[in-house]
Symmetry: C2
Subunit: 349 residues, 2 copies
Amino acid sequence: MPGDGIGPEITEQAVNVLKAVVEGSDLELSFTDGLIGGAAFDAEGQPFPEITRQQANEADAVLLGAVGSPQYDELDRPLRPERGLLAIRKELGLFANLRPAMLYSALADASSLKPEVVSGLDILIVRELTGGVYFGQPRGIREVDGQREGFNTMHYNEGEIERIGRVAFEAAQKRGKRLCSVDKANVLETSELWREVMNRLAAEYPDVELSHMYVDNAAMQLVRAPKQFDVIVTENLFGDILSDQASMLSGSIGMLPSASLNEKGQGLYEPSHGSAPDIAGQGVANPMATILSAAMLLRYSFGRGDLAERIENACVAVLDQGLRTPDIMQAGMRQVSTAEIGEAVVNAL
Amino acid sequence: MPGDGIGPEITEQAVNVLKAVVEGSDLELSFTDGLIGGAAFDAEGQPFPEITRQQANEADAVLLGAVGSPQYDELDRPLRPERGLLAIRKELGLFANLRPAMLYSALADASSLKPEVVSGLDILIVRELTGGVYFGQPRGIREVDGQREGFNTMHYNEGEIERIGRVAFEAAQKRGKRLCSVDKANVLETSELWREVMNRLAAEYPDVELSHMYVDNAAMQLVRAPKQFDVIVTENLFGDILSDQASMLSGSIGMLPSASLNEKGQGLYEPSHGSAPDIAGQGVANPMATILSAAMLLRYSFGRGDLAERIENACVAVLDQGLRTPDIMQAGMRQVSTAEIGEAVVNAL
Ligand SMILES: CC(C)[C@H](C(=O)O)[C@@H](O)C(=O)O
Ligand SMILES: CC(C)[C@H](C(=O)O)[C@@H](O)C(=O)O
């Protein structure tokens, strides 16, 4: 589902890479194009049309470009591109959003932080994606005593907290074995329950060291000393904010993939960056984040960590060759197009 | 109200500075000591006892140290120190929290960000402080279908948004005339109304340039290019996160004051940092943020910008003398105690 803005050009490269990596392997992939976001609105009058819903449900995995463009800003909210993204998350029950924030050593200079603060940065943020204030009911704008008021409900039950907790503990087991659960338990009851469930789960994962941090402090620590973190788990809204903050620490958000998984192993894979309508169609967008999302797709929806690693290694090799799209261009490197990066990754494979 | 941890030692210095600056001026201040947080719990069994409530209401301004200490972590939530802070905000109707995030040129190296990204940083965050999910009803933990669930309500009415909006527009008029309103209007109805009211207000402040930004993007932009901001206005929870993130950009949160104002000009003034129980009582805490909060107290609750500036200049002079508490110590500077900083500021006055 290419979506809007730079979506089509970056997914095109990622699909080429997927085709190349499975060629000659024992995995066969069959591809279907789907419409989502503004592109779907243009064609079908809806950001998440029925046909897309069916395709999504039938697929093992969805590779998504990005949604959103200023031309849709005046639409009624339910018709806007972002609603397509929220709808597919809810439809597929994609409760677990995995967002690595890491610094590629070839791009160490790109960060706005001092090199010693971020060199070797490698954090995984596990964001709950189908609960919290994003989907809580009741919600709306109503009139009370002659005055309008907006209201939303933040909401989590034990089951929802437990299942994202398990994903995070298991991810931590495979990494540095440290899990930091971020909440606002000094103010919110929702967070009180969140913290209680995380503490209960900790007993089942004795090899993982669990800590808790308030969200305001987490936002500070991500600036002050981000390398203190291994895996962070948090609820939907906090995860939205912190995962974007964390991805910007690397200075090269054009390199960062994401995966959103459900309980059946289906997943949606998309770059961490947005649709960048200002540079769409010019062939200058960085397809790396989408290519790396395709790697996550192979790892999580097809159990093919081996093929995923081949793609990841190929991306590093292309960086080492000095090829750069404009967003990560540095002196002494060679500036190339979106398609040239894609081709270089295929060649490196 | 000294509060907990380092609170007593830092407020002591700020009170000395206040006494020194009004001496010989036409302003007379009378001081009363009040209990809040853990200190109040120890003495009265409550983090915000009735006597404190009365003192707060009678005062023109409250100078607060900090609340919180691990020894209170096992108390029932309503008895914990932070609840004292939430209670005084609500009791006095302190809806407007002003939090400057700035970099003192003498401390430019302290930041974890590259010098060119933060040098000259000077942002004002205007955070709504008595609404949103902090105080919204209904809230709690309940059992539904044999499963517990936590829920909170995010809530703003037009009047609440308008009054914080006016504070922010007026602050922007006195500064760089650029106001960025941060929300999550692509997901939350509360934010939809927020954005609508900000747009409506903009017509009354034609000299201020209003922009809008989603909270996730704001968290990114504060890392990427924080100097793009002049004044930021946002709701309570987003303000909690972003103001802490922004204050950490300077690397010297021990220097950053805050003011929380109501509609009657009463205010509560406190450092942006916490109670740092690990270093309490050792005479090593940095009292500058509290001293600078006392300056804000003179400016906002007593209309004495002149006296405020004298304190602010004295603080800069002390930095220029090379005096530093350990938190901001650098090679070539002289490390001094909490009290020595206070005395140096008094002398500089
Ligand atoms: C577009 C928006 C609804 C979405 C979100 O807030 O979840 C985006 O910011 C993200 O993080 O994927
Ligand atoms: C202590 C806590 C309740 C408080 C808040 O969240 O408002 C603090 O973080 C702050 O920002 O003053």
